[in-house]
């Protein structure tokens, strides 16, 4: 299972282990962590909620897209849900490829796609309130208001 939603803390090494291959010269990982300050505002903690079954499918779709675009790539992604404190790991993306340029590009592609099409939401908790983050604040998910036509079906 290379694509997972996890209620428990993510073991980074175990995500990396899923993409180890004899043909790979490079593995990149992206580790999304909870940052304390966003636009000068202090976050206390976050809650991540997922539409879990669909989120797994959409992570798998991203994996398929990457394998089509980057030859020989292997991909694993785990996204956390529940309450996360500052510096906690929200998501780990591991990509292995024969050559390093592809490992960086494909990994970057994965995080951008997660922010477009994977049904996961975060609720920020500050000292003076809380809010579900959508396109009204720092993120513009669905850059054109909604997922584009290409996102509707695999």
């Amino acid at each position: 299972m290379n694509f997972e939603i996890s209620k428990d803390p993510i073991d980074i090494q175990s995500v990396i282990d899923k993409v180890v291959q004899r043909e790979a010269g490079a593995i990149t990982t992206f580790i999304g962590t909870v940052r304390e300050l966003t636009h000068g505002k202090k976050t206390l903690y976050l809650i991540y909620e997922a539409y879990e079954s669909m989120a797994v499918k959409k992570l798998e779709q991203i994996g398929t897209e990457i394998k089509e675009r980057w030859n020989g790539a292997e991909v694993a992604i785990t996204h956390r849900t529940g309450k996360l404190d500052i510096t906690d790991v929200a998501v780990v993306i591991a990509v292995s490829t024969p050559h390093r340029a592809d490992a960086y590009e494909a990994n970057r592609y994965a995080i951008e796609r997660i922010k477009e099409i994977v049904p996961i939401w975060k609720k920020e908790h500050w000292e003076d309130g809380e809010e579900w983050i959508g396109n009204q604040l720092e993120t513009v998910a669905y850059p054109k208001g909604k997922p584009e036509a290409k996102d509707l079906h695999e």
Partner: protein, 76 residues
Amino acid sequence: MNKIMFFAHLRDRVGEESLTKDFSGKTISELKQMLEENYGLKLDSVMAAVNEEFASDDEVIQAGDTIAFIPPVSGG
């Protein structure tokens, strides 16, 4: 029957994770309008998913379909 699922701020607003009711034959667009009227939701920047795939507003709901309303995502 159909299962209608809500997430994030929509779940808070509706006060339920899901509703079960028959909407077969209606379009997503019609369902959105009903929910906006009954729950005061704002759904214009909210995508629908039918059976875990994004669906357009003119898709017609079939018996047994699970419909989810997906606000702009903020994972990662």
